[in-house]
Assembly symmetry: C2
Homo-oligomer: 286 residues x 2
Amino acid sequence: MKIGIIGLGLMGGSFSIEMRRLFPNSLILGNDISQINIKSAKRLELIDDVFEVNNLSGFDIVLISVPVDISLKIVNRVLDHVAEHTLVLDVGSTKLPICNEVQNHPNRQNFLAMHPISGTENSGPDASVKGLYTGITNIVCEKEKTGLKQYQLALSIFQKLEMKIIYMNPKVHDQHISYVSHLSHITSFILAKTVIEKEIDEKNIFDLAGSGFESTVRLAKSSPEMWSPIFIQNKNYIVEALSEYIDNLEVLKQMILKNENEVIINDLNNINRIKEILSGINNKRK
Amino acid sequence: MKIGIIGLGLMGGSFSIEMRRLFPNSLILGNDISQINIKSAKRLELIDDVFEVNNLSGFDIVLISVPVDISLKIVNRVLDHVAEHTLVLDVGSTKLPICNEVQNHPNRQNFLAMHPISGTENSGPDASVKGLYTGITNIVCEKEKTGLKQYQLALSIFQKLEMKIIYMNPKVHDQHISYVSHLSHITSFILAKTVIEKEIDEKNIFDLAGSGFESTVRLAKSSPEMWSPIFIQNKNYIVEALSEYIDNLEVLKQMILKNENEVIINDLNNINRIKEILSGINNKRK
């Protein structure tokens, strides 16, 4: 198996770890604008060597795992150079823009749009971890536009990784994911910002913050280069979700100002249903 | 040692576990408006029996670990009945209201206001865990108003629990904690609310939500009866923090609408400083 990975960060590096396990004799080549990332990826044995996107002869798989603004710029260039049987995958968190971008490419059948629901708040090749793609949910879009040969290869890998596959229209994907993923990142980034701005003497944060704060701002450690383009590409749905979130905050603020203890308790009791939802997520993972 | 615990939830029950470890021959008595909680606390051997607050003769320690609105209603009644040497502690997340409440009580010296920076999102006696008070930061307010004997007993316990003690004015406490704790709970509750409202078919949340969402909404599982009174008691500072948070969200929303990728990246890079802050918290805990 000859595999190319464009973007040697958390998602790309972790994909290499899975591929080395599934296909021990693969040749894995890497491409990244950062020489530091390439050096790290070689040191970590995530890649055997580098490759250029204008020479993809003999490649079985090319994974695009770069920020979503860069994906849009390179995906058609990658498709320009694929071999007849090459499978091109992308792991971006927005799916409508990339599906639109490739829709008229003569090699559209070489491409499969997916979104593995996995990741951590860390980034770069050194953040790569074993098992990041194993047993997770993977959202697949427009599979009918992917060639049979390419799709069968993808499916055999997904099955080996024990993924749960969900087929979804890219527009529906982008809308739903704006709520359960993109909005979480915004609330976390801005919580961190608000607290940092207030606590000019950071020592107070060290002293007073508990594990609850830590959990809530965990996503604020995420990569700016990765997340800003997601917010912009998915802005229609994100702004809708964010506006509803702000409206709900304003409602709670008014209830607090009016001392409406019973109303707030009733509201929080409804919100507590998230317990069952989260335990559903955990059961699913087991 | 004769110890009374008023409120047999997470904080009260976990305090009992610590006391049984530190003082194996103690008599630990409990008080709770819920008969179910009393029954659970007995079953879990958190308490040996029940007690009434109008009979505190011979008690060495009374811990008040009830929602902060209830604390205000009972703290003076507890002080009315203490023995000469009794130490009364409270663990509430707001400190100015309770310090004001007791300020003119003739037995003010029996009371010590504290806020152990610890907890989980779970509640009730069954949520009690070992070590919840061990090695944590404990904020102590107005120690100069506590009697020497009572304070020495408290300090000896804090030292045995290897707590890091921070002395803080109750007003400053309430202001700082509104940012690093209360605001986190609000952002998490409202994120959960917004997503639940949107995803009428909850199945979509199960399928699409990753560990990032889970981490960010963890606090939304917290007890409504505990948190609503905190929001109301600390409303001046919370509304200030919440307003700044909403303003920051609005600013990001505008940047997203205007496609200001570089500006957002720059902003998120500043926010990424939270990494070092959080790693400072973790180093502190080690």
